[in-house]
């Protein structure tokens, strides 16, 4: 199952490393990454392949880890974007 991870936060060293390390720990395979920094705001969108047997906890864990680092992380099933934006 594919999911979209979005990360927004104040730019600093190591955000990409932090998020990708957390993904690796959980067996989440990163398929695509785009990132931007506007003034000091860092925005990153990752397309990932979630491991077999992922449950609601796999999604919410990452969000909570992000919060602890001052990052707004959303992990959302790709279908939500396909449903809303692809006719």
């Amino acid at each position: 199952m594919k999911a979209v991870i979005s990360v927004v936060g104040r730019d600093r060293t190591g955000i990409l490393a932090f998020v990708s390390a957390k993904c690796a720990e959980r067996g989440i395979n990163i398929v695509d990454v785009t990132q931007k920094t506007l003034q000091d705001l860092f925005t990153m969108i990752m397309i990932v392949e979630m491991p077999e047997g992922s449950d609601a906890g796999t999604f919410s864990d990452l969000k909570n880890e992000g919060l602890a680092q001052g990052l707004a992380i959303h992990v959302m099933h790709e279908d939500i974007f396909n449903a809303m934006h692809v006719v």
């Binding site: 594919k2 449950d55 999604f59 959303h74 790709e78 279908d79 974007f81 449903a83 809303m84 934006h85």
Partner: protein, 454 residues
Amino acid sequence: MRVINEDNILETIRMIDEENLDVRTITMGISLLDCADADISSSCDRIVRKITTRAKRLVSVAKEIEAEYGIPIINQRITVTPVSMLYEASGGDPVLYAKALDKAAKEVEASFIGGFSALVQKGMSAGEERFIRSIPEALACTDKVCSSVNVGSTKAGINMDAVRLMGHVVRETAVLTADRDSAGCSRLVVFCNAVEDNPFMAGGFHGVSEPECVVNTGVSGPGVVREAVRLAGHGASINEIAEVIKKTAFKITRMGQLVASVASGRLGVPFGIVDLTLAATPAVGDSVAEILEEIGLEAAGGPGTTAALAMLNDAVKKGGVMASSSVGGLSGAFIPVSEDQGMIRAAESGVLGIEKLEAMTAVCSVGLDMVVIPGDSTEETISAIIADEAAIGMVNGKTTACRLIPAIGKKEGDMLHFGGLMGDGPVMSVKTSKPDVFISRGGRIPAPIHSLRN
């Protein structure tokens, strides 16, 4: 994977984080017809068993979907077959049924359970009348139970005996829950042309023509529509605004459709309908009145309101219909006063009155919703307001409803506080001329003619 661009992803996240986009409710409809029994306690036991079995995983599945898809799902609700039918078979004290429903809802942690209902648009049986008379006590001694009574339809006309009775029932419910700001009335709806697949409360019930068990969803999103209208700017013509609203409604509804189909799959229950409704919440920015302001009115309730609302309601339906495989319920824009910050402001400033609200209900779903009226309003006055609203529904072939809250011990200008999604309501002024003779006549207003439409 199809290509989703970055802007689309950020747009969705912004809608959820900043504009209060959510799925308002996943509602499971459960038929209770097979629970009928001549013995009321055995009938109640069967109800509790059936609901707690069917809806056992409702809340946990909703939480799973919420986490995986990142979409807040605010309520998990249950609707059941109108309980007056079971009561006809069993007799006894109808309040026992309300307590059974309340117990079942609490056991599965559902936010509300709707279906303490009776359909009496053409006439009332003796049992139905006893059932309706029990509603005030049923609402006063439960927390989750929602009740509705259908008193009219385009095909049957308006049952004025039921209208007269409901004036009494609404007032009595307010009196019995006066210590809780008459909150019992927030769970009581009087309908004309009630729909059978409504996932919203307090008017939801599982119609008799519905299947054994079904999952319906109600989406929300006034904040999203308002932001889209704001981005269109003041230079956009009204048909351009209608297009913007259609596109936005499409996106919102697609999300509701997705959630409904995933929930249906995981619960092993067929998908029913998506209700395309802009349902306001007391949260700042999640207001239908503020959409009207964004369209270009200084306040909801002033001149222009009915026209702007008609356009909004129609555009929401047009956008939503294409986004879902099955649309139903009440589908439109709700205008509950107490649940909408913009409506509350407009009512407090005196721009929005009950008469204008009544006009607005002719062009949108659903009716005089969460309207707080003075505590000294008579039963006859309440009945007459219900009759007016039912007449709009009957003649226009649409659903209309009244959820009126007589504020016992309070007067015009005071506020009632319901808390949660129900919000706060200012007491609105009601004309005091007496409709007593009209209401005391009883009988039935005949169904309207369908030709010579002028």
